[in-house]
Symmetry: D2
Subunit: 303 residues, 4 copies
């Protein structure tokens, strides 16, 4: 089981409502008012702040809009208002800074959100009373090297996948773990997932479910050409390196996607290096274990 | 990557030839002679010692036969002469005592043996020169509790499986991890495997390959009744507990097997507790990584 | 879609209640009374007839008990009272004679029963009004040849599997289709299934779902040693022959099971020949298609 | 087993060399010369004819170049020079006209080509001696309906798949078989394959191997969101209809690909109707059965 670290009562809270518009504005309005009333500073993404007064979004005058990619360093807690996807996307901006994240679930049953919609004020109560606590969750640091030089870098809480583009030709992906050759995958693509991401795309592609608290990455090919290429679980410390190998004739286009949010086109020869990020995600865990959520989603407990 | 610990030159070596008879006696004869010549004490299992002078087995007069289940505590190294199975079975007797094990492979390509047949004298040279080193490999401690009391205990280097007997009725196996319910498996059976055992029965049943150096157990159902019951990877520290659940009518017989070697019949209600053994297996690793062996066995590297 | 053949109003009906005792006796009592009242002769298995007057089973004086393995040839319809398993087992005794079978489901949702418990009198109404119709469903004729001679024969509506016994050693099963070698399976066992049986053990072992109306057998290995051994769908007309191949040393025990009901021990060298039975099962189909049942059982239709 | 129909000695033969240029021109030069010498008319695709005199391609003066999409109706035989892909693509143009196709394999082991490179003159000998014979192989007729009208139509010898485009959002694919709802697939896409195509993309996506001579389509989802959505085998006569279902917000782009050769973009709401083509592919089968090829490719026969 993972160690729980208490979160001191926050003085500045970032609200991160679901990105696709007004659906989460009611909850954001309510949370902003409650926090402000209780003397806690409220921060929201600038694009949300710009919407104040429209679409049902009301923000106190004291609420501050901040550019999501250059956040101030004094945020004590992020409250994500939406589903697992919202929490994942919101956490991308604060995880490196060690800001703990808690989710209020506005939609379907998920794995990450600790609170349901009707508990919006309860999470604020709990935060202010110092009753929240976070667990570390393995994240991935990703680098793309092109022609020997660092071309791009990012992080992933869930997964990274490398996949063909519109023309579904097989990619040849030479994969190394801890400096040793693992396999040359000939496949539609390849998923490298953290334990957190194991119940997402990895599961659809045939990978195993991996419990939080394990320090492993799982490498799962997507529609591999060879039937012997099965999912492989490796120590996160060893790192995973994938090179888009030739031949150069008849190749497809390829791209890399991290957490379904960060996407870049790849060139033949690009090398993608994945390793454990230095700072884990500081997640306020759901009260239900991943197994209880799975049992509910999948009917595992039924007699 | 796993840390390597050097093995000091041994003064007493146990030879463990393959169990099914004369096939490994030539190698045992040669190794015993070479060790004795160089002043190293030789120990063999009593049932092997009893065969000396027959079937091509010659042992020096100084070689000692010992009961395999009450070994002296002064053995410095076990040399297993056979394949992966021989090494697994031999290691069962010495792993708890912290005796390092090295394999000389007399058969097909395997994952565990560090030396090939033609290297029989080389392993002795390396041992006496202090050039051998071991890596820790996760082992499993297993307890069977019946009617609230400890009924049996054992260990597994590879895997434990719980399965129906001759009448192939579904077993209902209530499974807990770290004190939380995981799932009620309705299946032919259930495999719990260490990383080392992941390429054995687990792979045939649809489980992932798990690299050495990860501290995880993998739980893989055998022919599960529900399609949502997929392999699950959990932290070894959390432990896995399986209870053979009812109903009591129409049940099959059931049994537990560890490493294909230790087998006991189960009763309805039995609880099987698996956790990381305190003492890991001290294995002299093969020079080829598990991935290189897989690549060779499965054709992963081919263009 | 399969052709539907109307069933003329029956003059003699066999009731086949679930085998495990009184659970289905209420329904049998009710059906026997209704049929007798309406002038239809009632037949039941002798072991059921012997229970009349006990356990809530009441039979009219005119009801006849018959030995299940030497049925008279004047039965016009079998009504199975139970679940899919009851219908399967009941049909074993009448399918070769071309007697149509209709199921009244007393338990969980199933694939085979056309009527629910509350429709017990409705099925009788429909039968007497000539409103029932049957579809042909592929059955399997099975022969076991030992030392060159026919040793046993039987049929299967669902599936045949060949599997190790209590000692779970790999079986080597040399398999031929239409006179051509298919594969040498090294596995816990092998399932050969009709379309009807494809949603049973075959599905748990990783096989595909096969729609009724296809004239195919599906061959699915159980925990195959080689990852390339995938399920294979073949024309039923070609037949499937499986030989339990050596080596002779270290073999397990093996057995064959048909429809979970007929079980015989196998010897090394036994050859099992499976082909389409001449007489298909004449089944009154469920109003819901197999897909609708699957959708309900598995949540396929959900948005 | 499939019936074999003899092919009378041809008077006009179409040569179809691999499309990607000079690789197959040597074989085409040799075949064209041999046929012309023996008084058989030679036809080649116009784009090949235009290359005569370059890249090592020499054609007799009498050889005729024809537009591939408006072939004359007097072709008696197509000889495909290349691998399985070449034969598939070549057959697209002649299969509807009932022209038999025979492959000369210039590359890796394949399933479709009856002759190897060194047998180029042998196939001509066999053809002229009337020793060739074809088997019928199930093909698929495909229609795309848009807004209630026929938008496009084509055929497939191997498979049709419907898949997301560059943005890998889940597609919702409402699927019907024989007029009944099968399932609403939420997946990266869906493959519908003939028996011939079952060893291609279908196998990589987890589908079964389907023997030639079965009149079935196999429906295999690509990375389905739900673990219960397994491959389904249905009677080809029943047809398969797939509708790209909403919701309309946040949808990906989608497209349809037939035999990897014919590709069209899809719009939400498009309905794809697949049924058995009236004219099967008339294929001169490989001497080795599909099982022997599989055994060789996959090592199925090894002890």
């Amino acid at each position: 089981m993972l160690p729980l670290k208490p979160i001191p009562p926050p003085r500045r809270v970032m609200l991160y409502p679901r990105e696709d518009g007004p659906a989460a504005y009611g909850a954001a309005t309510q949370a902003a008012a409650s926090l402000t009333e209780r003397g806690i500073a409220v921060v929201v993404p600038a694009h949300v702040h710009a919407k104040a007064g429209t679409d049902g979004l009301e923000l106190p005058a004291s609420a501050v809009g901040v550019e999501i990619d250059s956040l101030p360093d004094n945020i004590d807690l992020m409250i994500a208002l939406g589903g697992d996807g919202t929490l994942l996307r919101g956490s991308r901006w604060v995880a490196d800074m060690g800001v703990p994240v808690v989710g209020v679930n506005l939609g379907d049953l998920g794995f990450l959100s600790a609170y349901g919609r009707e508990q919006l004020l309860e999470v604020i109560d709990d935060a202010l009373a110092g009753r929240l606590a976070w667990e570390p969750r393995l994240r991935m640091a990703v680098e793309v090297h092109r022609a020997g030089e660092l071309f791009a870098r990012g992080t992933a809480v869930n997964d990274v996948y490398i996949k063909h583009g519109q023309i579904p030709r097989l990619l040849r992906l030479a994969t190394r773990v801890g400096g040793h050759d693992l396999a040359l995958y000939k496949a539609d693509g390849l998923i490298v997932t953290t334990p957190l991401g194991s119940t997402a795309y990895n599961l659809a592609a045939g990978g195993p479910i991996v419990a939080p608290g394990t320090e492993v990455f799982t490498i799962t090919p997507i529609c591999p050409h060879s039937l012997t290429l099965r999912p492989v679980v490796v120590a996160a410390d060893d790192g995973v390196t994938v090179t888009w190998a030739g031949p150069t004739a008849g190749v497809s286009d390829g791209y890399l996607t991290a957490d379904g949010a960060w996407k870049i086109g790849l060139l033949l020869g690009d090398e993608i290096r994945m390793r454990a990020a230095e700072m884990p995600l500081r997640l306020v865990p759901a009260k239900a274990s991943v197994f209880e959520v799975l049992a509910a989603k999948m009917g595992w407990s039924g007699y």
